[in-house]
Symmetry: C2
C-alpha cells in the first residue's frame, strides 16, 4: 500500500471521530497546537534552516525563500492564527432548515463536516498550520501535500501538532502529511475517490490547472486572479487614482491585485497621463493599447496574451475602451471571475456593472484587494474560490462543511 493510500485510510477513519467532537474539544486542541508551536519553535526553525539551505543551493529565488522562511516572530504569528480560529463559530451541527411534511415526517437539514479534505500547496509552511486548524475546527480530517521545498519544515510542524493532539481527545490521525516529494503522490491523491471528499489546490496557476485537469475527486479551485479596474467617464479622479494604485501596488503578488486597468476614452484623455506617471514613479511597468500609448507616451504594446496573464508583479496592462459595453466584453473575455471593480459616480452604470460582471466579488468604488476572508469579517480563510459550485469567493469554515437531511418518522411509507 502506498504512503498516500495508507495515510488517506488513517485520515478517513479518524474523520468519523472528528465529526463527533464538541466545540470545546476542538478549541482545546487548537490551543494545545498553538502552545506546542511556540514551545517547540527552536526545532521548527532548525528544520526550516535545512529547507532554506537546500532552497539556496537549488536557486529557488528570493521571494520564494522569503515565503518559506520561519523565525520566532512568524511562528508566533502562525500560532496566533490558530488561537483566532478558536473564536470563530463552529460550523458543524447548524440546523439550516427544518419542516414537517403533511404526512408527519419531520425533516431537518444540518451542517456536517466534509470528511477527509486533501490540500495540495506550495512552499509556504504557514499553510500547513492554517489548513490543520481550519479543518480541525470544521470537524474534518486533512491529508496535506505541501511543496517539496518546505518538506523538512512541514514534517517537523506536523510532528509538533500531532504530539499536541495526542494530549487531547482529538485523534492525531486526523492530521496526515504526505512526505513523498514525488509528483506521483499528487496524481494519486487526485484519484482517491471514496477516500478524499474534496481536494483544494492552493498555489500558482500551473498547480491549479494540473489538479483540475487530473482530479477525479471533487475539486475546489482557488486563486487565479486576472482582476480589472474600470474607470468610467464619470469616475472621481482622486478615487480612481487611489483605487487603481492600491489594487496594483499594495501587494502585487496576490490574486486579488489588479492586472489590467480599463479606462473610458473620455476619462483617459483627461487623466491617463497623470495616472501613468504615478505608476511609473512607483516602479510599475506599463503595457498599453495603441490609444493608451498615444495619450500616455511610450510603453510596450499589450498583447492578448498579456491581457490573459496574472503577472503577480509590478506590471500593468492599460486599455482604453469606448463604452461600458466594451469594458464588460473585455472582462468577460480575459477575466478569471475573481474580483472586478468599476469606479464611477454614475449609479446606474455601477449597478449594471455589478449585475452583469460574472465574478466572485464585484466592486463599486473600492479596491479589489478587499476580497479576503478577514476583510469580509469571516475570519481565517482556506482560500478564495474562483469556481461557482459549493463556495465562491473567500472560503471560511462553512465552506468546509456539507449538509445532511435527518428525517424523523413514525412508520411512514410512500404511497
Amino acid at each position: 500500500m502506498s504512503e498516500v493510500v495508507q495515510k488517506a485510510l488513517l485520515g478517513k477513519e479518524a474523520s468519523i471521530r472528528m465529526a463527533k467532537l464538541t466545540t470545546r474539544q476542538k478549541n482545546d486542541a487548537l490551543r494545545a497546537m498553538a502552545d506546542a508551536l511556540v514551545r517547540e519553535n527552536a526545532s521548527i526553525i532548525a528544520a526550516n534552516q535545512e529547507d532554506l539551505a537546500r532552497g539556496q543551493q537549488n536557486g529557488i529565488g528570493e521571494s520564494l525563500l522569503d515565503r518559506l522562511a520561519l523565525d520566532e516572530k512568524r511562528i508566533q504569528g502562525i500560532a496566533e492564527g490558530l488561537l483566532q480560529i478558536i473564536g470563530l463559530p463552529d460550523p458543524v451541527g447548524d440546523v439550516l432548515d427544518q419542516f414537517e411534511r403533511p404526512n408527519g415526517l419531520v425533516v431537518r437539514k444540518v451542517s456536517v463536516p466534509l470528511g477527509l479534505i486533501g490540500i495540495i500547496y506550495e512552499a509556504r509552511p504557514n499553510v500547513t498550520v492554517d489548513a490543520a486548524g481550519l479543518c480541525l475546527k470544521s470537524g474534518n480530517a486533512v491529508l496535506l501535500r505541501g511543496g517539496s521545498d518546505a518538506l523538512s519544515s512541514n514534517i517537523r510542524i506536523v510532528e509538533v501538532l500531532k504530539a499536541a493532539l495526542a494530549t487531547t481527545v482529538v485523534p492525531p490521525e486526523a492530521l496526515q502529511l504526505i512526505t513523498s516529494s514525488d509528483r506521483a503522490s499528487v496524481d494519486e491523491m487526485l484519484k482517491l475517490n471514496g477516500l478524499l471528499d474534496v481536494v483544494i489546490p492552493r498555489g500558482g496557476r500551473m498547480l491549479i490547472q494540473t489538479v483540475v485537469a487530473n482530479a477525479t475527486v471533487p475539486v475546489i479551485e482557488t486563486g487565479a486572479g486576472v482582476c480589472h479596474t474600470y474607470l468610467d467617464e464619470t469616475a472621481d479622479p482622486t478615487i480612481a487614482l487611489n483605487i487603481a494604485v492600491n489594487a496594483k501596488v499594495q501587494r502585487p503578488s496576490v490574486c486579488n491585485s489588479m492586472e489590467t486597468l480599463l479606462l473610458h476614452e473620455e476619462f483617459a484623455e483627461a487623466y491617463l497621463p497623470g495616472i501613468a506617471e504615478t505608476f511609473r514613479t512607483l516602479g510599475v511597468q506599463l503595457r498599453g493599447c495603441p490609444a493608451s500609448i498615444r495619450i500616455a507616451g511610450p510603453m510596450e504594446e499589450a498583447t492578448d496574451e498579456d491581457y490573459a496573464t496574472e503577472y503577480n508583479d509590478y506590471i500593468l496592462n492599460v486599455r482604453i475602451v469606448e463604452s461600458l459595453d466594451e469594458a464588460l466584453e473585455h472582462i468577460r473575455r480575459f477575466g478569471t471571475q475573481h474580483s472586478e471593480c468599476i469606479v464611477t459616480e454614475h449609479p446606474e452604470r455601477a449597478e449594471r456593472f455589478l449585475q452583469e460582471v460574472d465574478a466572485a466579488a464585484v466592486y463599486h468604488n473600492a479596491s479589489t484587494r478587499f476580497t479576503d476572508g478577514f476583510e469580509f469579517g469571516y475570519g481565517a480563510e482556506i482560500g478564495i474560490s474562483t469556481q461557482k459550485l459549493h463556495a465562491r469567493g473567500p472560503m471560511g469554515l462553512p465552506a468546509l462543511t456539507s449538509t445532511k437531511f435527518l428525517v424523523y418518522g413514525s412508520g411512514q411509507i410512500r404511497g
Copy 2:
C-alpha cells in the same frame, strides 16, 4: 468548430441574457413551452414512434422502451411539470447575506445563475423538458446531451420548445441539444472548461462513473443508491415490515429503493421468517448471509459484490448483524451515501444512527423512498446529489445557482 463547441458558445452567450430576466418573463416562457408541447403533441408522438421502432429493432428491452414511450397523456404530464415550475420561487437575486464593514464597505451576497449547465442523460425524453424548465427558471442556459435511443423525440421536443421561446423574450439559444450520437460528443462536453459551468449526469452507474472519471469541468454526481434499512432489536415489527417492503418493492427501479436489509440478530430470530415469506410472496429474490439462511430458509448466499450492487430490481440482500456498530460498519463499507434507515423504538440508538451515518438523507422509522424533491416539498428536482459539495440530496432550483458578492464603496482602499 464541432457541434458541441458551437452550441456551447451559443448557450454561453445566451446565458448572459438569461441572468437578467425577471421572474415574470421566465414564467411566461414556461407557460409558452407547456402550451406548445400540448399543441404540438402529435408531431412529438410521431418522432417518438421513430425512436420506439428503432429501439425495438435494436432490442433495447421492455423497461427501457417503456421509459422512452410518449403518448398524449404523458406529454400532458410533462407539460404540467413545466406549469408547476412556474409556482416555485425564483432562486435568483436572493440576498443571502448583507453587512457593513467598519471601513464603510457594504457587502451583499446574492444568488446568481450558474451560467451554462450541461446535462447528460439516457433514454427518457421527459428529462429534456424538465431540465429545460428548471434551468430556465433558475436563469441558466442549458446544453443537453440525451441518449441516442431518444434522439428523434428530443430533437422534436427541443424544436417545439425553442419555437415557443421565440415568441417570448427568453432567447431560444439558451436551450441547446447535442444531436451527435457519437460518444466523442460526451467526452468533448466533459472538457469544456470556461464554457460549461457544471455538468450533471443523470442515469445509471456507468454513465456517472464515465463522467466523474473524465470530466475536467465541475460535476454534480447524482443517483447511485445502494440504500440500507436496519431493523434494530427494538424495532416495532409492523413498522419494520411495512418500511422494508415499501423501500424495496414500491418502485425498485429508482435510486432511493432498498438493496440490503440489515437485521439485529435478536429481531431476526423472531421476525425474519415472516419478513422473508412476505418478500418471496411479492416476487423478491433474496440473497442472504449464512445466519439469514439458517433462520429464513434456502436462498442464494450474498457475496460482497452483491452487497455493493445497486440492483434496481426485485432482488434483496439480507444480512444479520450482532450490533448497531456492525450495521454502521456495513453501511460505511457498502453504502453510497444516498439514503439510509433505522427502524427502532430506542431513541438513543436512532439518534446515534442519524448522527453517524454519512449519507444525504438518514431516516428513523420511515422509508428511504421519501428522498425526493417533491416529497420534501421542494418541488421539481434536477436530480439527487450523492456528493458532498455544493448540493447534497434532492436538488431543486437553488442547487442551480451560485453566489456573488456585490461590494459598495466610496473610495475605500486597503491599508
